[in-house]
Subunit: 143 residues, 6 copies
C-alpha cells in the first residue's frame, strides 16, 4: 500500500481530530467540556485528548444520528450506569444546548424508572433539577 | 375527600390501565410483547400485569416524549445495564416498529461505545444483527 | 367490555393509589419519604407521584411479603446496585421502622460482601453507621 | 502473643471451615452446591475452597440472620447485579430449601422491579419459573 | 494552523490506525479478534473499525503499559462488568498469548472475589476453564 | 477425621489470619487501611475483621500473583464497578506503595476507557489526580 506512513501524517490527523472534536465539544457543552479537559491536563492529558479527539472528533460528529438523538441515548446510558453524576450534569446541559426541552429531559428520566428502577431515575432527576436551577429553567418547569 | 373508594373503582382502573397498555404494547412490539406476558402467566401474572398496565399503560403512553425518542433512551439504558439481551431484542424490534431506521439504531449502539465501553456496544450490536437478519434487513444494512 | 371508561374514573383511581401509597410511605419512612417527594415537586412531580402511587401504593402494600422481608430484599438490591447511597439511607431507616434490628441490618450488609464484594459492603455499612448514629443507636450497636 | 502459630494449626482451621461450610452448603443447596465445587476442581480448587469454607463456613453460618432472611437479601443482590443467572438458579432452590414459599419468592422478584427496573425483574422471574418447574411447583404457583 | 486539512490526509490516518490495530489484534488475539470484526462487518462495519483502529491501533499499542499488564487490568474490568463472557473468552486467550500463565489468570480471578463478589468470580473462572480446556491447558492446571 | 475441633483452635486460626492480614494491609496501605478498620469498629467489627483476616490475610497474601499485579487487577475492577471512589483512593495509594508508577496507573485508567467507557475512566482518573496531588506526585506526572 502506498499511503504516506510518516509520523507527520499521523500527527496531523491527530491534531485534526482534536480540532474537530473541540469545535463539537464547545458547540454542545460550552465551557463545561473545556473544564473537564483542563482538569485532566496535569494528570492524564492523553485521556483529555481522547475525550476530545475520539469521543467528540470521531464519534459524536458522525452524521448518522442527530445531536439531539445522541443526547437521548446518552441520558439513558448515564442514568443506567449509575455513579456518573458529573457526566449527567454535563450531558443534561448538552441536551438543553442541542434543543431538547426541560419537559423532554424530565420525561426521558421518568421513562428510565421503568428500565433502571426508581433509585437511578430519582438520582438522575435531581441532577436535572440542579442544572435547570442553575440555568433559571426550574420555574418554567414547575409553572 | 369524597372520591368513590370502592374496590370496583380500583378494579376498573386496573383493567383500564391494562387495556391501554396492551394496546400500546401490541402497537409497538407486535407479538413479542404478548409472548413475554404469556411466559410470565404461570409464574408471576402480577409482573406480567405490571409490565402491561404500568410500564406501557401508565408510562409509555405519556405524551411528553415521542415513541421513537423513548426507544432511543431505552436502547441506551439496556445497552448500559448489560445482561438484558432478551429486552434488547424486544426493543430493537420496537425501535424499528416506531420508525427508527437500521442505520440510526446501529449508530446509537456505536455511540454507546463511548459511554459504556466497547464490550457492551459489541454485545448490543450483535443483538441488532440478529433482529435485522430475522426481519430481512441485514442486506439493506450492509448494502 | 362495559367498564366505566371515563377520565374521572381513572383520576379517582390515581388519587386512591397516591393516598394509599402516601399512607404506606409515611408509616415506613416517616418524614424522609415526604422529603423526597417534596424535592421532586418542582422538577418532576410525576416521578414523585409514581414513587408514592406505584412503588408504595401498588407494589409495597401488596400482602404477599411482610414489610420486614421487603426491606431485606431492598437492602440487598441497593447495596448491589451501587451509587444508591441516598436510597440506602432512606431504606436503612425504613428497615428499623418496620422492625429489623441494627444487628440484623449489619449482618445483612456483612452477608452482601460474599455476593457484591467488599467495597459495596463497606460503602453500605458506612451509610448504616450514619443512620444508626443519627438515631442514637450506634452505642447500643457497639456495646 | 502465645498462640500456636504452626502451619498445622492453620491447616486444621482451614479444614474445619471447609467441613462446616460443606455441611451448610449441603443442607441449603443439596447437590447443586457440590456440583459448582466439582466444576471448579480442575481449574480453581482454591475458589471452590473459598466458596465452601469462607462464604458458607464463615459467613453463611453466622447466627445473626436466619437462613431464610439471608436468602431474601441474596435474591435481591443477584437480581440487581444482573448476569448472575446460574447463581439465581442455585439460590432460588436454596430459598425453597430453607422455607421460603414460591409465592414469597415471586413477590420478592416482583418487588425488585421497583428498585432494579422491569428487565432485571423479568429475567430473575424466568429463572424462578425454571426452578419451580423442575421441582414440580409451577402448577401450585399457577393454581 | 497550516496542517494539511484534506480528506485524503484523514483517510490515510484512518487506514494507518486500522493497519496498526490489526497488527496488534492479530499478535494478541490471533484469529479470535478477526472473527469479531468479521461478524460485525454486515451490521456495523464502523464498530469493527473502531475496535481495531481505536481500541487496538490507538490505545492498546501505547508503550506506557506492557501487554501483559493491560490484560491484568482488562480481566479485572470484564469480570467486574458482568455479562461480558464473550469478551472474557477473547481476553483470557489474549492473556495467555502475551505471557500470563494459567496460574496467574486463575489467581487474578480468585482475587476478583474480594472486590466483585463470589458470583462474578465464579462466572469468569468458568470461562477460563473453557479456554484452558480448548487449548489443552486444563490438565497442566489441575496437575 | 481426627482434627482438633475445639473452639480454641478456630479462635487461634482466626487471630492468626487477622495478624497476617494486618501486616499485609499495613505494608500495602499504610495508615489508610487501618483507618477503614477503625471506622467500621463501632458499626460492624466483623466486616472490619473480614477485610483484614480474609481479604488481606487469606487472599491478598497468596503467592500466586505479585502485589503489583494484584493492584492492576484491582484498579480495573474498581473502575468498572463504579461508585467505589473511596476504595479507588485506597488502592491507587496501594498501587504506588507496591511499585506501580504514576505513569503506569494513569495508563491503566486510560486503558479502562476502552472497556468501561469514558465516564468511568474520567471518574477514576480524577481520584488518581487527588492521590497524586496529596503525595506531591502531580508535578512529576505533568512534567
Amino acid at each position: 500500500m502506498s499511503i504516506d506512513n510518516t509520523p507527520t501524517n499521523a500527527a496531523h490527523a491527530r491534531e485534526e481530530s482534536f480540532e474537530r472534536g473541540m469545535e463539537a465539544l464547545t458547540a454542545i457543552d460550552g465551557a463545561a467540556g473545556q473544564k473537564v479537559i483542563d482538569s485532566l491536563a496535569d494528570v492524564s492529558p492523553e485521556l483529555g485528548h481522547q475525550v476530545v479527539a475520539w469521543a467528540f472528533g470521531e464519534m459524536y460528529v458522525r452524521p448518522g444520528l442527530a445531536p439531539r438523538d445522541r443526547q437521548l441515548v446518552t441520558l439513558g446510558m448515564l442514568t443506567a450506569l449509575g455513579g456518573c453524576e458529573p457526566q449527567l450534569d454535563v450531558h443534561i446541559n448538552a441536551a438543553l444546548n442541542v434543543g431538547l426541552t426541560t419537559d423532554e429531559i424530565v420525561e426521558a428520566l421518568l421513562h428510565s424508572a421503568v428500565y433502571c428502577g426508581i433509585p437511578k431515575a430519582v438520582n438522575a432527576t435531581f441532577i436535572a433539577k440542579r442544572v435547570f436551577s442553575e440555568r433559571g429553567l426550574l420555574q418554567d418547569q414547575a409553572a
